[in-house]
């Protein structure tokens, strides 16, 4: 079974057709990078995978759960599918350590000592052991994002969704976050990443999915996409984004 499978998925906001007949499969352990101009539906698409946005038509299967079925318990899916946001969304009222330990404690009922041990391990992995007792407001953007990644790893998810994880960061912070994301990929966790970081896409991505106007225009392995994009719009997009770098 695939980790994620979209079958003829449509999404409307009122009359606006945000996602058009999406067909997409993500296999376990794959790193799939979604790229495309702004307004192309990348964020909408990634947010349907854990039910932050619902779909209008078609079928969406995530980790063997059918999201198109209204009776599906979203919380069960979210246990196994973490998410990292552009604006971090760390809990402002909790310390870094508490941010990481909260969901394992109340969702998984994990043993407290074990929970803490694992949280501290994760903090070490993202290089922020010294910040365990800090509050999010005391951290820089890059640090917040690394904590957010640790928080989603704490649930030991099968898949993590990254929605423009470096877009709100100062340039010098971006690499630290991308490094942590590489570590996540090496752990064999399925990743779907919306990003404009072409270097990361090229190095870590197994596949590139190019969206424009709510449609998947191209879905290729990374090599092929960067060397020889089939679609004119993908070519234009690539040349623009690369000359800007």
């Amino acid at each position: 079974m695939s980790m994620i499978e979209f079958k003829n998925v449509d999404k409307y906001y009122g009359n606006f057709h945000a996602l058009k007949n999406i067909n997409l499969k993500v296999e376990k352990g794959e790193v799939v990078v979604l790229i495309g101009p702004s307004g192309s539906g990348k964020s909408t698409l990634i947010r349907t995978i854990n039910g932050l946005e619902d779909i209008s038509n078609g079928q969406l299967i995530v980790n063997n759960y059918d999201l198109s079925d209204k009776k599906t318990d979203m919380n069960k899916i979210r246990k196994d599918v973490g998410m990292v946001f552009q604006h971090f969304n760390l809990y402002e009222n909790k310390t870094v350590l508490e941010n990481i330990m909260l969901a394992p404690r109340i969702v998984l009922h994990k043993d407290e000592a074990e929970n803490k041990k694992y949280a501290l391990e994760l903090l070490e992995m993202v290089g922020l052991s010294s910040k365990a007792e800090s509050y999010p407001r005391m951290l820089s953007g890059g640090q917040k994002q690394r904590v957010a990644i640790a928080r989603s790893l704490a649930m030991q998810p099968k898949c993590i969704l990254f929605d423009e994880p470096t877009s709100a960061l100062d340039p010098e912070m971006i690499d630290d976050v991308l490094d942590v994301m590489k570590t996540v990929a090496e752990r064999g966790i399925t990743m779907v990443v919306v990003t404009h970081e072409m270097g990361f896409a090229r190095e870590v991505g197994n596949r590139i999915v190019f969206l424009a106007d709510g449609e998947i225009l191209e879905d290729d392995d990374t090599e092929t996409f960067f060397k020889n994009p089939k679609e004119e719009r993908a070519r234009q997009f690539l040349s623009k984004i690369i000359t800007h770098k």
Binding site: R78, N89, N93, V107
Partner: protein
């Protein structure tokens, strides 16, 4: 000066303190009750339960736009006409709780709304249920944002208890009136003294608020 000395005789001061005690009693009971009710109503308005939230919103809008004095009159003089008679104390508390709950509900609702949506999304995407997310993440942050407007509402409430003087609730202002109605030269000394008393109580409340804000801010 001797007028002041006479006005502030021990017996008069004790009588004022008795009035202050009633003021405090009514205030504390009303604050506690209206905070609990306001919290529930505010959450109901925020979470948008079909029909219920709209009905609650409608009631809150009506009550918020009526003068408190009218509500006090209605409770004490109007309700007996409909067969419900209350003591001044009970009537004052009831009227204050009705009015303040409506005011507080709006503070609660806007406090919850002021928490960025990302907080809820972060919690939900970690697998927390809506209720768990509200309890652990949203409400603690909302309450912290509510502290300043809540306390100014509580201060208004303490001062508004003086309106109940009209339904002969033996609170601070009423007791002052009794004293100076027997000797009108006591009027200014009495006003001064109860001004000090109201000020001390209300100022203490704002000090508490500042403390809370520092601690949770």
């Amino acid at each position: 000066m001797s007028t002041f000395e006479q006005a502030y005789s021990w017996i008069n001061l004790r009588f004022l303190l008795e009035g202050l005690w009633v003021t405090l009693e009514v205030s504390v009971i009303s604050i506690v009750l209206s905070f609990i009710i306001g919290l529930v109503l505010g959450v109901i308005r925020y979470v948008k339960i079909k029909y219920l939230s709209a009905a609650v919103g409608f009631l809150i809008d009506i009550i918020r736009n009526l003068p408190l004095l009218l509500i006090i009159f209605f409770t004490y003089f109007g309700l007996p006409e409909l067969g419900l008679r209350m003591t001044p104390m009970l009537a004052a508390v009831t009227a204050l709780v009705v009015f303040e709950s409506a005011m507080l509900a709006e503070i609660v609702r806007s406090g919850i709304q002021a928490v960025p949506v990302g907080q809820m999304e972060g919690a939900r995407s970690s697998g927390l249920t809506y209720v768990q997310a509200m309890w652990h993440i949203i409400m603690p942050q909302a309450l912290q944002k509510m502290i300043p407007p809540l306390v100014s509402q509580f201060i208004s409430l303490v001062k508004d208890t003086s309106l109940a003087t009209i339904i002969v609730l033996p609170e601070l202002l009423y007791h002052a009136q009794i004293i100076y109605s027997q000797n009108t030269t006591y009027m200014v000394p009495m006003y001064l003294m109860i001004a000090v008393m109201y000020f001390v109580v209300c100022y203490c409340l704002s000090l508490v608020a500042r403390r809370l804000e520092k601690r949770y801010g």
